[in-house]
């Protein structure tokens, strides 16, 4: 399901339905009249046999819900696979775009669930009130809930659908010891409708806003755990009222190329869903544009390995001068280094504070490349970066030593591979901190960023040691990537158990005779056979 839905959502090369000649009208509302008419026509032709058009353009159930593009894609997928709806690829795209635009979510309504759309690995489930963590969070990340808007009557129908389709949910751990159905069918609909209602001021305002034009030159900064920072420029060209093509000229921190390109569809005026390549690898992009079109942020991830990806932050080259990022974000005393200031309008000299000397090597569209010397007695701590009249705090630190490390994420889940399913890897990074003595003798920890370390694994407890989890569960590479073993019964293990494991991931940084060590907890567990776009 995963890949079919993705090819449907994103603006990949298979994209068909490009409606031209309506750009002017795009500023009038969420979608141009011709596209709206096309979408409505598909709904009337293919959905209204069951979802009756009770008033012009108003369809039973469909018009009572608002969702993300991924949410609508899952619904359409289910209608095809369970209820026999037959649509061409063009009709699929038309209907998906139509529903995402006219029955979509306002930016503020997507905020809580963006982590799920962005496929951020090891993100904790949402904190929602009432008994929702037990009632829904046993199976869902709760982003699925938080990315849906509907009245109590529709929430009730959704709950009925759940039991009708998955009757054994009442017997599962966490629900069989409570009166799940009674709670779900009586208390829950009103509570959900209060939290996530169909009608909202945010949506009323957003749906009438003109679409921002995202074309232009953008400065990009991002971080790919395991590989580090990258930076550069993006050239975004508009192909139609909702479609863009982007070219990326990017670099890793060491200057190596990390170029790419993408084709994207903008849903609901702000949700960028792209498909393309980065560094030669196929990727998907889930980004969100600011309401005024001045910034695009989100996460990209590898096709087939959504756990591997990076943050994406793009700002226009035009606008008030600012420093977006400093790469690297920490400088050791007594060194000379290449430093990149990513930002715009960076004119004038650079000052990184006492004990440092910065020289501009070259000016680029995305910022400045500097040579910086930090003398041996420079004071550790955060530095204010001054470029001409621009001042930025907390983007750069100076350190004498790494006092402690933290492994991020502190808790991760990896999944075994095998058969038709790729393993789900777990990427770790070791974040260094230095202690700085502040006012009134208070010591504060200054974050230095990802540090090169030696990686190893250890059993999490005596049981894990007894089972030999370290030997069976997989391999931790020296870039912090844990690659799980193959799934399925392993005759070499006790009980022919799967190659699951309960492990510590250990980062060790040695300086001379001293070592700084940090640990994270890694569970290596079984495959996830159902891979919907939103859990």
């Amino acid at each position: 399901m995963h890949w079919r839905v993705w090819s449907l959502i994103s603006g990949g090369v298979a994209a068909v339905a490009v409606l031209l000649g309506t750009v002017g009208a795009a500023h009038a509302a969420m979608m141009p009249p011709a596209a709206a008419r096309a979408g409505l026509a598909v709904v009337q032709a293919h959905c209204s046999a069951c979802h009756r058009e009770t008033a012009p353009g108003h369809f039973a159930r469909i018009s009572e819900e608002r969702k993300s593009p991924e949410g609508w894609a899952m619904t359409i997928f289910r209608m095809e696979n369970v209820h026999g709806v037959r649509l061409t690829q063009k009709q699929l795209r038309t209907i998906l775009r139509y529903l995402s635009d006219v029955q979509g979510l306002a930016p503020s309504e997507t905020r809580a669930g963006r982590f799920a759309l962005e496929r951020r690995p090891n993100h904790p489930i949402l904190k929602l009130p009432y008994n929702l963590p037990v009632m829904c969070g046993r199976c869902h990340s709760l982003a699925r809930v938080a990315l849906t808007r509907q009245p109590a009557s529709e929430w009730r129908k959704l709950i009925n659908f759940h039991v009708g389709q998955f009757p054994f949910l009442e017997y599962q751990d966490g629900s069989r010891d409570i009166r799940w159905w009674k709670i779900a069918s009586t208390q829950l609909p009103a509570k959900l409708a209060k939290l996530f209602p169909l009608h909202s001021a945010a949506w009323r305002q957003w749906r009438n806003r003109p679409r921002a034009d995202l074309a232009g030159v953008w400065i990009v900064h991002g971080d790919m755990p395991g590989r580090g920072d990258y930076y550069g420029t993006a050239l975004i060209r508009r192909r139609s009222w909702d479609r863009y093509r982007a070219r990326y000229v990017l670099h890793y921190a060491n200057g190596a190329a990390f170029n790419g390109s993408s084709d994207a569809i903008i849903y609901t005026g702000f949700q960028w869903r792209g498909t393309g390549t980065l560094g030669g690898k196929p990727v998907h992009e889930v980004y969100f544009a600011a309401a005024n079109g001045s910034r695009i942020r989100g996460r990209w991830f590898l096709a087939g390995h959504s756990e591997i990806g990076g943050d994406w932050d793009a700002a226009r080259t035009t606008g008030a001068p600012k420093v977006m990022a400093v790469i690297p974000s920490a400088l050791e005393v007594g060194t000379r280094q290449r430093l990149i200031l990513v930002g715009r309008g960076l004119r004038g000299g650079v000052d990184l504070g006492p004990g440092t000397k910065a020289r501009i090597l070259v000016r680029r569209p995305y910022g400045l490349i500097l040579s910086v010397r930090v003398n041996a007695h420079a004071a550790p701590g955060y530095r204010t970066v001054r470029v001409g009249g621009v001042r930025s705090r907390d983007l750069l630190a100076v350190y004498r030593r790494v006092d402690h490390l933290e492994v991020e994420p502190a808790f991760a889940i990896a999944r075994l591979g095998g058969g038709t399913l790729a393993p789900v890897d777990a990427q770790f990074q070791a974040i260094g901190y230095t202690n700085v003595l502040g006012a009134h003798g208070r010591v504060s920890a200054v974050r230095l960023g990802a540090m090169p370390v030696t990686w190893s694994v250890a059993p999490f407890n005596a049981e894990a040691a007894k089972r030999g989890d370290v030997r069976f569960a997989g391999t931790l590479r020296q870039d912090g990537l844990f690659v799980p073993a193959e799934g399925g019964p392993d005759s070499k293990r006790q009980f022919s158990a799967d190659n699951t494991g309960d492990l510590y991931v250990v980062a060790t940084r040695r300086t001379g005779k001293t070592a700084v060590v940090a640990k994270a907890h890694l569970i290596v567990t079984v495959q996830r056979w159902i891979k919907p776009p939103i859990y």
Binding site: C50, H51, R52, A60, R61, K157, N160, F161, V163, G164, Q165, P167, F168, E170, Y171, Q172, D173, G174, R176, D177, R179, W180, W181, K182, S185, P489, Q494, F495, S496, A497
Partner: protein
């Protein structure tokens, strides 16, 4: 404590009477009946450790789960077709002699693993979830008990229907033939003819001093050879002498199908999971299976774990020979292993040909002359 996963399971039925059913002077032998995806029903001779019959269940749709043998051991009723059908297979010929496709106009019916055959072998009691399928929505309906005649043929329709509570995981016919039990939030006893609720006793809301609310997922209602159903129940012991937060404790629930007596016995701290249990014919020992085979001593009021051995892999279902000498474990993968009930040593194993996966198929024991 909770079981980690939903492991749907199988249900029980009854043998010819109970453990003391064998008439003296008539030699009879026990056979193991079990199933496996995609559509197998196996009869195994435990003495030769051979599969003596490998029947194909029609329209099983890659799904073979709960197995209930008729009291005379001649027919096995099998939940197939992803819980939407019960097929009756003649255990000598392999012929399908009964079929109830659970359907109702405009409704989706699902047997929630819970069904049994009456002691006279004439009726099947089937617990179903119902969902009304409307043009653009599903409507959950109250569950029901459907009573079928086992003589209903290949297009069996229910003779009677009764309202039923939600979340029932097992149905067990009482030996007097007049009522049946349903295990869910509570233990319910219903009149077989009228569906009248005769008695309700707490399971989830049990009243046991120093025991917190229990967790039970008994889909393995094997009742042979004693006529007593048993199941592990997981709880937490609190009170004087226990650390804060309590101690995880495993108990054994027993329900005597002859007299309806319900009892709980603690068997010890929960050091290992047990998915299903069986009571031995002399009622001195019980056995439980999962990744280990656990032997439980039933010493008057004091029951305790007496022995535990590792199994080659996970087994969901356990059963025992009528003489109590051999313990059988099966389910999950594609083999059945025979253990010496006294020494807990492996005596032999049986590989199931053409088996994709036994999964939740029940392991039943029948007797043949």
């Amino acid at each position: 404590m909770n079981l980690k996963f939903l492991v749907p399971v199988a249900l029980a039925g009854l043998l010819a009477g109970c453990g003391s059913v064998l008439s003296p002077g008539h030699a009879s032998h026990d056979f193991i009946v079990t199933g496996a995806a995609p559509d197998h029903l196996f009869v195994i001779n435990p003495r030769t450790r051979k599969v003596v019959s490998d029947f194909t269940i029609p329209d099983a749709h890659d799904y073979v789960s709960v197995i209930v043998p008729s009291p005379n051991g001649k027919v096995a009723y099998v939940l197939v077709n992803r819980t939407r059908s019960i097929a009756g297979i003649n255990l000598r010929t392999g012929k399908e002699v009964f079929r109830a496709n659970l359907e109702s106009p405009g409704e989706r019916l699902t047997c929630m693993y819970a069904f049994d055959v009456t002691p006279d072998g004439k009726e099947l009691i089937v617990y179903v979830y119902r969902t009304r399928l409307e043009i653009d929505q599903y409507k959950v309906q109250a569950p029901r008990f459907l009573i079928f005649s086992t003589a209903g043929g290949l297009h069996a329709k229910p003779l009677r229907e009764f309202p039923a509570p939600r979340r029932v995981q097992m149905v067990l016919a009482k030996k007097d033939g007049r009522s049946f039990f349903a295990i869910g939030f509570n233990l319910y006893e219903y009149d077989l003819k009228t569906g009248r609720l005769i008695k309700r006793r707490g399971i989830l809301d049990w009243h046991r001093p120093h025991h917190l609310r229990p967790d039970m997922l008994a889909f393995w209602p094997v009742t042979e050879p004693t006529g007593i159903f048993s199941s592990p129940v997981y709880s937490t012991l609190t009170g004087p002498g226990t650390p804060s937060g309590g101690v995880p404790e495993t108990s054994l629930l027993t329900l005597n199908l002859h007299n309806g007596h319900l009892a709980y016995h603690d068997i010890g701290r929960t050091d290992a999971l047990i998915f299903s249990t069986v009571i031995g014919p002399q009622r001195k020992w019980a056995y439980g299976a999962y990744t280990q085979l656990t032997k439980i001593k039933l010493d008057g009021a004091h029951w305790r774990v007496a022995d535990r051995v590792n199994l080659p892999h996970t087994y969901y279902s356990v059963n025992i020979s009528p003489n109590g000498k051999d313990v059988y474990v099966g389910g999950t993968m594609c083999d059945v292993i025979i253990y010496d009930a006294r020494t807990m040593r492996e005596k032999g194993d049986v590989r199931l040909p053409g088996c994709d996966d036994q999964a939740t198929a029940t392991l039943r024991v029948i007797e043949r002359r």
